[in-house]
Structures are given as structure tokens and as C-alpha cells.
Amino acid sequence: MIQIYRALLIQAFQQMAQYRVAMFLYALFSFIRPIIFLAAWLAVAESQGGRLGALSSSDLAAYFVITIVVTHATQAWDFFEFEWEIRQGRLSPKLLRPLHPIHYSITGNILWKLQTSLAVVPVAILIAITFDARFTTTPSHLVLGAVSTALGAALAFTFGWVFASVAFWTTRVHAVVTLYQRAAFIFSGQIAPLALLPGPLLAVAYALPFAYMLGVPSDILRGGPDIATALLMIGGQVVWLAIAIGVYRIVWSAGLRQYTAVGA
């Protein structure tokens, strides 16, 4: 499998090298939204004496700087590509090979993130300096945060494939995915740090998978929770990842039975 991944990574690199500008334009999406929310929340904090709940302006800046990196590391876009592949008949050649189509996606995902991080990380550092971000990250937070980010990426990726597989039933998967993305927008920690959500919404957020994709790894990397709480959060990620993989296997298997190989 290592040889296959090596070959797929090379192939993905060759493809991406053809569209260098487009690649970096897509990377812009990782930091535009967090910057907008950071600016908005800083304005609110300023109007309340420089604090928002338990968070200072510098804490808020640190959180949104971290979300730039974590958003970039955990984003998944397979639902749109998968729908296109089914409609254009491009899934069939992959299904005919002795390699699950998800592996092409994993390598493309990893490579894109590695390459575009060359643009994202410097921008995040610049924003951290500009907005006087204050990190309370310890080495333990850094290690747990890296694990949590990897789990968040795996979780978002697997859920992405669950929703992508809806395309087996309807070749217009966009509406379903939009609903999923709206829920993620509210509950993942994109709008605000999870700690700022009102009590009932916070409970809902921790019961749903979205927070474990973005808010949890961002909080850990910022150095927000203590180590015991961070481990508990990572436990939540592992549980949701196991559920996501189980659901994905069921949906994929059922979806293949529905597959009509249109356009191919």
C-alpha cells in the first residue's frame, strides 16, 4: 500500500502542478472567513472592555489564527467532486480497479493541504502578530493538538464521503451537503469559540460531530482546556470517527447496489 500511495501522491502532484494559481486561490478560503469573524468579535470585545466572557481580545485572536490552520488542515470537499465523478461517469474506471476510490481522494487531500500550507502558515503567523494573539499552548497541548487535528481531518473527510455517497441515490447531492455545511457552520466553532456558545447550544455542539472537526482541535492547540479535558475531547473525536467509519461503510455498500453507472 505504501508503494501505491507513493505513486498516487506523485500523480496528484503532477496534476496540481498544472494549476498552480488555482491551487493557491482555493487556499484563500482557509483564512478569509476566520479573519472576518475575528474582526467582528474583536469589535464586540472592544465594546465590552476588551473581554468576551472568559476570553480576552488576544485569546480570541489566538483562537481564530489557530482556526485558519485547522480549517485548512481539516477541510474536505469530496461531496462536490464525487457528485461530478458520478454524473460524468468518471467513477466507473476507479471502481474497476483493485483499489478503493477513497484512496485517490485521501492522497489528493493530503497533498493539496501540504502544498497550500506554504501559503496558509505564513499568513496565519502574520495575522497572529498583527492582532497580538496570545497562546497558552504547552508542548503537551501541541502534541495533543496535532493528534486532535489529524482526528478532526479524518472525521471531516469520512463524513464528507458519507454525504458524497448520497450521490448514489441522487445525482444532485448539493442540497444535502448545503444542509450539512450549515449545521457545521453553526456548531463546529467557525463562528465563535465553542466556549462562547450559550449553554444549551454548547451541549448540542458537543453532542454533534461538527465541534470535533474544528472547534476541539483549535481549542486544544490554543492551549485552552487542561490536559485531562483535552484527552476527553480527543476521546469524543475517536468515538465520532468510529461512528463515521461505520456509517460510511454501510452507506457505501448500499450505494454501490444503487449505482447505475450513468454516463459510463
Partner: protein
């Protein structure tokens, strides 16, 4: 009897299709009350194909050819019935099964558009776990047969349709599959390229012993490559047997074309068979197969100096197939079981 490489029993596929009338009202109603119709694409198909055979799968558009190939290659689950291809149930898509087959579709690419074909082939080498020496040998053979050398290092998007089809063949055969499903492999190609692809398929079948099922609307493909044909229409198998026998049974006549000198009288030809065309210079007539030699001799004898040329041929295979599709009764002895 040898073990069949492809063994199909009662294979059936029914699609469920959303149906609505035209107009705004019907569109609104369809939001709340969807109507579906079941469309049988393949019905109770049963046949066996032995190792190394090249079988033509014939039928008009929508007959069920491609659906059958998709089921046999594991892309589609059947509604009912069973099949084994190289000993595997195709739609379980076991890795060993997928390593043993290929499905090539004309005008469909399995190569990555933006990179050179050679790079895609390297990825396939890893996916199919082809040892380096075998990979080099197979690629060398395919390069010779398909004259690939100038094409392998160009991005696929820069290749012409014919060039791309050659590279598609290389990608589809690089893992030396035991069974090749070829769905309209010459679609859209010019006559010269069609001929080269045909020669390649025949040569590859001879060298590697690959079992081939071929669908094509170009009867030249079928005549050049397939001794055996399976005819399918409206999802049902109409005929499974030798191509030559199909022609004899469905068109039990020969076509005699007589070229005449200087508008010679030819009225007596009407007595010898059914005249299908006539002008000042030539007459074409159909005569029963068994009496073709005797009537040909009579034409030569009676026309004497007025005869410029004469030819005796089987009817074109397209005409034979048209008769089958037009619903002419298939002789019982020939009909597929």
C-alpha cells in the same frame, strides 16, 4: 467441455426510472407524487464463453449490451440471476476479479487528463502490483502493437481521439487481464484507426489468449474479429452462435450483381430471382442460396457477349442484423436458449 471463463445464468437488470408528463403542472405534481416506471434493460440472459473466445455482442442502441457488460465487469448489481467471470461473482468486486478483467469504453477515458499517459501507467503498475520486469515486457509489447512510443509522454488532453484510444487500450491491458470487455472501442475513429485497433485486438487475442466480448455498431469490427455473436434486442438474447450461420439462416439468399454492356436486354433475369435494383448498366438480384451456382451459370451462358462482369456475394451483414432487429422470426434452431 472446458470451464467457461464467463458463465451467465438468467441475468436480469431492471432500472427504476422517474417519469413525468411535460408542463408546469406535471412538474409541480411530481414534487409531491413521484411516479416511477420499471424499465427492463436485460431479461434472463444466459450464455457461456470459453477462454480465448472473441464474441461479438450485437444489438441496436438501448438493447442492453452495455448494461450486460457493466454487470459482468462488476459495475452494476443485477436485479436477479447470476454470473461468474473467471470464477468470481462480478458485483462482489473482489480484488482478484478486478485484476483479471478490463472494461474499455470508446469515448470514455480512464486516464488522468492533465498528465502524461506514461505517468498514469506507472500508477496502474502499483495499483495492479505488476512486477517491474513484467510491466516493462507488457508495455514494450503494447508499445510495439499500438505504436505508442510518440504518445506516452504527452499529456492525455493533447492527444487526438484515435491516439487517446490507443493509449486507453494500453492502460486497460497493462495488467494483462484474462477477460476484456470492449464497449464500442472504435467509436468515432476514422477508418484507418478502426482498422488498426481491430488488428491490435486480434493480435493481442492471439498472443495473450485474452477472452474478449466486443460491442460495436461497426459491423466490420464484428466480421473481422468475431466468429461467434450474441444478438440482444429489447434486453433479450435473440441469437447465440456462429456469425456465418446467422447470415445463412436469416438471409437465405445470395446477391448476384450483373454488369451489362451497352444497355443489353436483361428482362429474363426477372425469372431467375428477385430483382432489387436495375439500371442501364447493371442489375442486382437475390436468388436462393442453393440455386445460386446454377443460376449464375445460366446468366453467364445466356447473356454471352452482353455480360461485362458478374459477382456473387452473401448479403451484407448489416442487412442480416437489420432483419433480426426488425423482428423477423428467428429460426427456432438458432434462437438463444
Amino acid at each position: 467441455m472446458t470451464d467457461a471463463v464467463i458463465d451467465v445464468r438468467g441475468l436480469t437488470k431492471v432500472y427504476r426510472v422517474h417519469e413525468r408528463q411535460e408542463g408546469l403542472g406535471a412538474a409541480v405534481r411530481s414534487i409531491f407524487n413521484r411516479k416511477f416506471r420499471e424499465v427492463p434493460a436485460v431479461t434472463d440472459a444466459t450464455f457461456r464463453i470459453e477462454a480465448g473466445e472473441v464474441v461479438g455482442f450485437l444489438g441496436p442502441n438501448g438493447a442492453g449490451k452495455t448494461t450486460t457488460l457493466k454487470m459482468l465487469s462488476g459495475l452494476l448489481y443485477p436485479t436477479s440471476g447470476g454470473a461468474r467471470v473467471v470464477g468470481h461473482v462480478p458485483w462482489r468486486r473482489d480484488a482478484d476479479f478486478l485484476r483479471a478483467i478490463t472494461l474499455l469504453m470508446g469515448n470514455r477515458t480512464q486516464l488522468v487528463w492533465d498528465i502524461a499517459a506514461a505517468d498514469s501507467l506507472r500508477v496502474l503498475q502499483e495499483i495492479y502490483r505488476i512486477p517491474e520486469d513484467r510491466y516493462r515486457a507488457t508495455l514494450g509489447e503494447l508499445t510495439d502493437l499500438l505504436e505508442l512510443e510518440p504518445l506516452l509522454h504527452k499529456p492525455v488532453r493533447d492527444l487526438s481521439l484515435g491516439e487517446r484510444m490507443k493509449v486507453e487500450f494500453a492502460a486497460g491491458l497493462i495488467h494483462s487481464p484474462r477477460v476484456a470487455f470492449l464497449d464500442e472501442p472504435t467509436l468515432g475513429l476514422d477508418v484507418s484507426m478502426q482498422s488498426r485497433i481491430r488488428r491490435f485486438v486480434a493480435e493481442h487475442n492471439r498472443r495473450a489468449g485474452t477472452t474478449v466480448i466486443l460491442t460495436s455498431h461497426y459491423m466490420d469490427d464484428v466480421v473481422a474479429l468475431c466468429k461467434r455473436v450474441i444478438v440482444i434486442h429489447h434486453g433479450r438474447l435473440l441469437y447465440d452462435g456462429q456469425l456465418g450461420e446467422l447470415a445463412q439462416r436469416m438471409a437465405p439468399y445470395k446477391v448476384i450483381t450483373v454488369a451489362l454492356r451497352d444497355g443489353a436486354a436483361s428482362a429474363f433475369l426477372d425469372e431467375l430471382g428477385t430483382v432489387t435494383s436495375r439500371d442501364e448498366a447493371s442489375v442486382t438480384l437475390h436468388v436462393p442460396r442453393e440455386s445460386a451456382p446454377e443460376r449464375t451459370a445460366r446468366i453467364v451462358r445466356d447473356l454471352e457477349g452482353s455480360l461485362a462482369d458478374i459477382s456473387v456475394e452473401d448479403p451484407p451483414i448489416e442487412e442480416v442484423i437489420d432483419r433480426v432487429f426488425a423482428g423477423e422470426r428467428m429460426p427456432e434452431a438458432l434462437a438463444a436458449t
